[in-house]
């Protein structure tokens, strides 16, 4: 199934964007993009390789950056149609160039649209990679033509204590004492900072989760999140949360006529890890949901926890609303609002 290029909201402080901005973006900004970005020097050596490209190519950039893209990482691109165009681009005056290509992996063939972007110094070129179709691996290709698997680039990793998931991403197995220890550390060094820190941490994590969600959907169904209804998009988010052990998410849209909806998280890993508290403690989830919902809605949003299992409640409940209502939400919650109906009443008249 063919898909149009992916879209993502830029960071909140983001100015007007166009692809020529990519070379000036930080590594963190590149990692928030749901399409691939590869930066090559004139010799074809990989200088930068973003998270989406690593996820969709199922390679760890630790084994990619610094290596020859055309010979070692993607031999399928060592053709006049691909490598030839890139090399010619270095010697041309063109600012951008676009062309279709095919990435042959051993796990599948990916049809892509490549956009070459020049940098002013002309000492490197950026390849923006939009996947447009996923096919089964092509047969009958010459040995060594397909891109190598992560395990071939870095054999014997398991013996070195390196674990990977099905997409070859490095993973850690930690129990919730990891979160407990983190929370206790913040209570010790900056007692009032947990909420702000963990919300920002969750938001940054959510930006990466969006890349994950988009990549999974693209691979499984040839769709992007923008194709999905609100219920479908939130159900995929719920699935993502569950497979990461965060708990079970449910969504309630009865507050929609008032410009908000509700997310319930049962068995919150964060809430249970931080222990009893008089105030909501799942700010990590607030930030995570905020980033995912902002990507879907293409606008700044506020997610606030109405009640938390750390307070002894059966489940954690979050409210999603537009960003400018955040302070009013916080005030209403601080003043004791316990339900969406009470929030709606408190927000009445708030633009």
């Amino acid at each position: 199934m063919a898909v149009a290029p992916l879209a993502i909201v830029s960071p909140p402080e983001g100015a007007h964007f166009e692809p020529s901005r990519v070379p000036g973006m930080s590594d963190a900004e590149l990692d928030a993009l749901p399409f691939g970005v590869i930066c090559l020097d004139p010799d074809g050596k990989v200088l930068r390789y973003n998270l989406a490209e690593a996820r969709l190519a199922r390679l760890d950039r630790a084994q990619v950056v610094g290596h020859d893209f055309f010979r070692r990482i993607a031999p399928c691109t060592a053709t006049p149609e691909f490598e030839g165009r890139v090399r010619a681009f270095f010697g041309s005056a063109r600012r951008v160039e676009r062309f279709p290509a095919l990435f042959d992996f051993k796990f599948g063939a990916q049809h892509v649209e490549i956009e070459l972007v020049r940098v002013p110094a002309n000492d490197c070129v950026y390849l923006l990679v939009n996947r447009t179709r996923f096919d089964a691996p092509r047969e009958g290709l010459p040995v060594g033509f397909q891109a190598p698997l992560q395990g071939e680039l870095a054999p014997g990793e398991f013996e070195l204590g390196v674990m990977r998931d099905a997409s070859a991403r490095r993973v850690l197995f930690v129990n919730t004492s990891f979160l407990t220890a983190l929370h206790q550390t913040w209570l010790k060094v900056a007692p009032k900072a947990w909420q702000g820190f963990s919300r920002e941490w969750g938001w940054q994590w959510g930006r990466h989760a969006v890349v994950d969600l988009e990549a999974d959907l693209l691979e499984e169904k040839g769709q992007t999140l923008r194709d999905l209804s609100m219920r479908e998009a939130m159900e995929r988010t719920s699935h993502w949360a569950a497979v990461h052990g965060l708990g079970t998410m449910r969504f309630d849209f009865t507050g929609a006529p008032h410009g908000l909806f509700e997310v319930t998280l049962e068995r919150s890993a964060v809430g249970e890890a931080v222990g009893p508290s008089s105030a909501p403690r799942c700010s990590l989830i607030e930030g995570l949901l905020e980033a995912v919902c902002e990507h879907l809605a293409h606008r700044l949003l506020a997610v606030r926890e109405l009640r938390c299992c750390a307070q002894g409640c059966r489940a954690c409940v979050f409210v999603v609303a537009t960003e400018h209502r955040g302070p009013a939400l916080e005030q209403a919650i601080a003043e004791g609002a316990q339900s969406v109906a009470q929030l709606v009443e408190a927000l009445h008249g708030t633009p």
Partner: protein, 50 residues
């Protein structure tokens, strides 16, 4: 404040959006969704047509 959008290879005015989230009444203006021709009902935002 609206986010500017970011997409490779598309001019800004051609960037597609999620029509379901875009149609949500984020301002909670109290419009009666579904009553006028341009305002989708909540049900229409939650489910894709078959």
């Amino acid at each position: 404040m609206e986010h500017p959008e970011l997409v490779a290879g598309l001019p800004d005015d051609e960037i597609p959006v999620n029509i379901y989230f875009d149609g949500f009444d984020w301002d909670g203006a109290g419009d009666d969704p579904g009553d006028d021709a341009g305002s989708p009902s909540v049900e229409a935002l939650l489910e894709r047509p078959d």
